[in-house]
Symmetry: C2
Subunit: 606 residues, 2 copies
């Protein structure tokens, strides 16, 4: 890649950003869009949105998007801080040093735009030069700054998570446990087994339970009936608003014929739904899983953290998700089933990485004009135009890569779904982790292995890449755009922390390699303690902070339980808790057609 | 190594075994030894001991040595089974095939004893020969048999562990939790902090606590006074039994002078002990750790499995060991201290492996006569005697290696002690794991790397080696010899399981390498699923059985608690429980001099 191609790429990206911001500013109050953004109106001041967005306090973000929103914003801030440190170091110190080196060729200022960016990389520094100690110091400094920032964020967010728990109103997920692999003896029902077990072993805290049912067929029927409802509503609105509807939409049938037909089908469907619902409740389609609710948070914690049965593969308990966060369609329950699907997903992930490696090897070829002209000789004339050439080598590769990789998150989500997670957030968190591994193995290694190795190393001095990639996948709970569907209490942060530690260690290993290649073995040896120290730091954080993100303590749980013991509103909460985890597909048809229980709107009305 | 040297080695080992067994048979009823073995007399029938030992049932072993004893015996049985399968396969099929190969040289039956053992190894099979498929099948067969045996044992021992728990009488360790890193506010004592915390958060189940004290100095004083007591007792017994004691033992002083002097010193020491004890109790030497006892097993489990404090580095809880199993001398408590010592131990372990690698590289040289004559030319004449030569190449290397490695377990125990384990069993289990890693890295890899690689590969077809090595370290709770000091409830088995899985996978990797070298790439490829399947099997066991060895379930705990609730003997048990975990060094001096609380005899009197 030559310098001017890089500049073109930067220019296009900047231009696109400004353009998109301008379009948003203009369109957000126009008729079709105002409906999308209006529910947030109370938070959106009349002044220009961009400066206002920058002025939002963390309390605003918390109120609008929960702790996950706060974590998301802080991931951005953390990335910007690390990137700033790396940029100051890189642009201010390393790049001038690299450029003034003479390993690659004598400096020729006359034709700067056509120079390869390699001139700015460590490749251009003379082998064994003492200037390399600047790169050595940079590795230590950036690691130090990043670890300090990581520690600071982890500590801050741990505090926030505890604070969030202490100030939260009673939430069903804190009182409820998901039980899987429920063993059923003889011809008893799952429901009876659950009741017997928890009345026996958790008599003082057990409140109620909801057995999960297979509702795939029901869900399909409900979807169909909903589609017809929408069509009917459209037809009716057309009739009301315009006196002479365009005939071509209705074809050869009259409007009333069609309405009647739809109404007939809708009635049939509703009858089917009712039959299917009563079938499901009559225990024939019970799944060996249930949501079990307790009278106290501590009671629920007892059921989660102490193994329930002598046989570890039955009565498996775990945290229940937020009721809105439950992923009903896929509810695999058996120990073996989940186990086999995990293995299949593992193999599929490896295959995906291999496919992506092939694609990116091809794309990498694009950055070398000569190769491209060789592959596609008929394009030679067009490619020789300067602007086209710069577009193709500087911008096209990243566009193709981004286009291809934009499909990866959905595939990863599909994989995580297959693994049997029972919450949307669980699926997304697992997909995040998969995405991280995918990014590391395909994007990073593919770049290094297929490109010129030394020339590409500089990207590793920039650990911001991983949080940035993650940010693409984290469900965009951005202020003013989406309403949060669920709240994980900030549990996305540890993934970002681990990703950053991984990229730091990767940077160290590569730096050790670079110093060896550059014939400065002393620097290589002196760099060895750095990954060890980084991993020790990570281990410390894992002991000090991670448990806070995994579970609440006895101290917190009991304090919170006691605080609420005597509150009058708890009676109502518990009576709601009994039905909080019932499958929306099992609710009576009248409600399900009118309410929006199954389809959360893009924006909540709060 | 040539064949006759191997035969010599086998012969000497067999001879030594017979000799030692004969000496034991003759001497075990003679005066100085009868005292050692007599307490087991009820179990030792008058008939010859060797056949009797073979006839013991598992119930006998359980009664005499606890579940750990049963596990130990089963480790032996498991090893013998795996070894038998491997031997049948190896001696019956592979060795003849190897020997009939002609890769190394043409067969010459005339001089068999001087043939190198390499003739019996896979090295001797022609490259690319179809006979190699026999080796391929052997890898699959041995893996299959071993995994089946592992599964069978794991299942059997899991059942035994549950049975053992259900039938056990109330044990202090099931009701007690060790709490470390207790935070003390202001000038309050550790004891007050513990009382406050557990009365607050475990009010219904909390029974009592015992704070740990620094008793290093006290322990030294008690040791000294005990030594003097022994000397005094000896002097007195000499006076009683013989009318004219040999003067030379008493030197120039009279007997009474010496007795008086000892008694004076003893009184001084006892005074010091008493002062030190009262100092320690007056909270000046409190350690931030305590044993906290509960009214029920389930109450204790609650305190262990649910994190106690919002800050994960304080109020850290873990299973309390058997009171006799507590390792009082070293009681490091702070989170950071334990953390740093872990790291130091890690570095020290690596250094130890490096040192051992050097030693074994030297020893390996001994098996090659030419090298030895080159190093020590003056020995040439002696070495040329046939017997000496066979001794040196066949027997000496293993003797030296065994001699050197006999020191390793004690070093590993020292390392584990430094890591801050608080029970003897914990130290020994951790030392077991370290020993396993050490064996793998030093003995196995050193052999392979320093010897002729292909010639040494055969040893990997024999996964019995690791359980055998472990057996050396497991505290020899052998029937008729030692009384068990503590009981871990069979928690040594998972280590053996993991070690066996590791050696299987190592065998697979090496077999893949061998088939590649032997130019049978198809066999290499078809062997790849084997380690994957083995690891999946291991993962299954880890999910299915390991939790049973780590903790008891709610089901077991509550059942057991309820069973005993109304028993009258529980009142006495609880009153004893309050003092069960008091440091023996803190007990009043009168008792400590006469009882054997601190010094368990080699055999219990049961």
């Amino acid at each position: 890649m030559i310098l001017s191609a890089l500049a073109t790429s930067v220019g296009i990206n900047l231009g696109l950003t400004v353009l998109l911001a301008a379009v948003y500013t203009l369109l957000r109050r126009r008729p079709p869009y105002v409906a999308v953004y209006s529910p947030r109106r109370p938070y959106a001041p009349p002044e220009p949105w961009l400066p206002a967005a920058w002025r939002r306090t963390e309390e605003d973000v918390h109120a609008a998007a929960g702790l996950d929103g706060v974590v998301f914003v802080r991931i951005f801030v953390f990335s910007i801080r690390v990137f700033t440190a790396a940029a100051v170091m890189g642009v201010g110190v390393l790049m001038p040093v690299n450029f003034l080196g003479d390993q690659l060729r004598q400096i020729d200022f006359s034709d700067l735009p056509n120079k390869s960016v390699d001139l700015f990389s460590v490749s251009n520094v003379q082998d064994g030069s003492n200037k390399l100690w600047l790169h050595f110091s940079a590795a230590y400094t950036i690691t130090g700054i990043t670890c300090y920032l990581l520690y600071y964020e982890y500590k801050y967010l741990s505090g926030k998570r505890l604070e969030y728990f202490t100030t939260s109103k009673p939430l069903p997920q804190h009182f409820t446990v998901l039980v899987r692999a429920i063993p059923v003896t003889g011809d008893g029902s799952v429901s009876d087994a659950v009741d017997k077990f928890f009345k026996e072993y958790h008599s003082s805290t057990y409140l109620s339970h909801t057995v999960v049912h297979q509702t795939g067929k029901l869900r399909r029927l409900l979807n169909d009936s909903e589609n017809i409802c929408t069509k009917l509503a459209n037809l009716k609105s057309v009739r009301h608003t315009s006196g002479d509807p365009p005939r071509r939409f209705l074809g050869i049938f009259g409007r009333n014929d069609i309405v009647g037909k739809y109404q007939k089908r809708l009635e049939d469907l509703e009858e089917n739904v009712r039959m299917e619902q009563s079938d499901a409740t009559r225990s024939r389609q019970e799944v060996a899983a249930a949501f079990v609710s307790f009278r106290s948070r501590y009671g629920a914690a007892n059921a989660i953290y102490i193994r329930q049965s002598d046989n570890p593969t039955v009565w498996q308990t775990e945290h229940a998700p937020d009721p809105h966060d439950v992923y009903w369609p896929f509810f695999s329950t058996s120990f073996m089933e989940r186990w086999i699907s995990k293995f299949i997903v593992f193999v599929a992930s490896i295959l995906l990485i291999l496919v992506f490696l092939l694609v990116s090897a091809f794309v990498q070829g694009l950055t070398y004009m000569e190769q491209l002209e060789q592959w596609l000789p008929f394009l030679k004339n067009i490619l020789e135009i300067a602007v086209v050439s710069q577009l193709v080598t500087g911008y096209l590769p990243s566009v193709i890569l981004h286009f291809v990789s934009s499909y990866v998150p959905s595939i990863m989500k599909l994989f995580s779904t297959m693994q049997g997670f029972i919450s949307v957030s669980g699926i997304e968190r697992s997909a995040c982790n998969k995405m991280l591994r995918f990014t590391i193995w395909s994007v990073f290694f593919a770049n290094v292995l297929t490109g010129s190795v030394l020339g590409q190393l500089e990207i590793f001095y920039d650990p911001k890449e991983i949080p940035k990639r993650l940010a693409v996948l984290v469900p965009a709970q951005l202020f003013n755009v989406y309403s949060p569907k669920y709240d994980t209490g900030g549990r996305f942060w540890p993934i970002v922390h681990n990703g950053t530690i991984f990229s730091l260690v990767l940077m160290h290993i590569i730096a050790i390699g670079v110093f060896t290649l550059k014939k400065l073995p002393l620097a290589s040896s002196l760099l060895v303690p750095l990954p060890v120290l980084t991993l020790l730091f990570n281990e410390y954080c894992r002991n000090r902070f991670l448990p806070i993100f995994e579970a609440y303590s006895t101290e917190s749980l009991i304090k919170k339980d006691r605080e609420e013991q005597s509150k009058p509103e708890m009676a109502e909460f518990f009576s709601n808790l009994v039905t909080a985890y019932s499958d929306p597909a099992m609710k009576p048809i009248q409600r399900s057609l009118n309410s929006d229980d199954r389809t959360t709107p893009l924006l909540s009305s709060a």
